[in-house]
Amino acid sequence: MTTAREAGFDVCHTCLALSASGSGHCVRCGAHIHPRIPDSLQRTVALLIAAIVLYVPANLLPIMTTDQFESSQDSTIIGGVVILWNMGSYPVALVILIASVLVPIGKILTVAMLCWTVGRHLPVSPRQRTTLYRITEFIGKWSMVDVFVVAILVALIQITGIIVIRPGAAALAFAGVVIVTMLAAESFDPRLLWDDEPEKPDE
């Protein structure tokens, strides 16, 4: 098993072609290429910290406000889950709980764990870590569901004088969390997971 780096090549992420190492651009498609993403771990950790910072207002501020007759009521992400649960809409409450709470936290913890194992050269199975990385990449955009729900409810519930829904500041903060964690997953170079792999004979 030979890696591109051992053979003196850089792999293109856009078209998979092999170019002479250090050439900077792919011979086939012209995309920027690097042996490894430069400063991958530092960039990823910086983006994770940004995500944690944004996660605070995303949960403390209201994601939307409902004006019903004379009264108005703010609701947070967690508050929305609780209301749905009390209404008996368990499946939707679970979808929002998973997409808006468990997935962002799980993503931040998973990517942080991957950075830590790479930085410390811990002997954890590269295959299992790659699976974790792929799950993180795949579920990234699904957290945006709650932001879209706010957009849809705001457009639909506009019966002036009776009930009106307005977007809250947490929606943007939460969208920020989702985007920043997606960028963090993108800036993490999964090839780092395999770089410590000892040479194994072909099986």
Binding site: C15, L18, R28, F148, V149, A155, I157, I159, I163, A171
Partner: protein, 212 residues
């Protein structure tokens, strides 16, 4: 794909050879299992058809109400454009921009690129101006949130069903069809197939290059 291609795995850096594939087959990295190539029968006709169909149903989704609600004797309906307009009306311009980008702009750009690229490659032609959009196409994919928005519509529907009478408009069904067609259109464009065809066409038209 006609002959063996030397590739590197973008996720684990292992060198590999992708053999010629028959439709329905896919090639995976020997070490990490990453899907390197997928082979379809006449991929460009397939991608072109799904993309054009996707744009047609998206036009329908734009033209009719998505959902409508009846409460206290008043009805109100919502269209795709209104989701963006109301957000910016309440000062949530940031969210309005993000929704437009992820749900409308990125998917439509991708479909336009796919149509242009598939038309050219099917005719065995390529224009250098297509080079950059082809690169973008494969990077934009992670930011197209068509299917996420579709789930968002369903979640909103269930959320409201308890307190008001919600009915589905024609656009709801058109958007669900758009979601499916969009995913099929992009998945038809296998990047190794696309880039190898571009390479073959561009080296063929340059007479001094005897490669191939």
């Amino acid at each position: 794909m006609s002959e063996t291609a030397s590739v590197g795995c973008p996720e684990c850096d292992l060198l590999g050879e992708v053999p010629s594939l028959v439709p329905g087959q896919r090639a995976r990295c020997a070490r990490c299992g990453y899907v390197l190539a997928v082979c379809y029968d006449d991929p460009y006709a397939r991608a072109w058809s799904f993309s054009v169909a996707a744009l047609v149903v998206l036009a329908i989704a734009f033209s009719f109400p998505f959902l409508s609600i009846a409460a206290a004797g008043v009805t109100n309906s919502m269209t795709l454009v209104q989701t963006v307009l109301y957000l910016s009306q309440y000062g949530a311009d940031g969210i309005a921009v993000l929704v437009s980008i992820f749900v409308i702009l990125v998917p439509v750009l991708m479909l336009v690129f796919i149509i242009a690229l598939a038309t050219a490659l099917r005719a065995d032609r390529f224009h250098p101006l297509l080079m950059a959009p082809t690169r973008w196409l494969f990077h934009l994919n992670g930011w197209a949130m068509v299917e996420v928005f579709a789930i968002g519509v369903i979640v909103s529907l269930v959320k409201l069903a308890a307190m008001a009478r919600v009915s589905l408009g024609p656009s709801f069904w058109a958007y669900l069809a758009f979601t499916g067609l969009f995913l099929l259109a992009f998945s038809s464009m296998d990047r190794l197939t696309v880039w190898r065809d571009i390479e073959r066409i561009t080296t063929k038209t340059r007479p001094e290059s005897g490669k191939g």
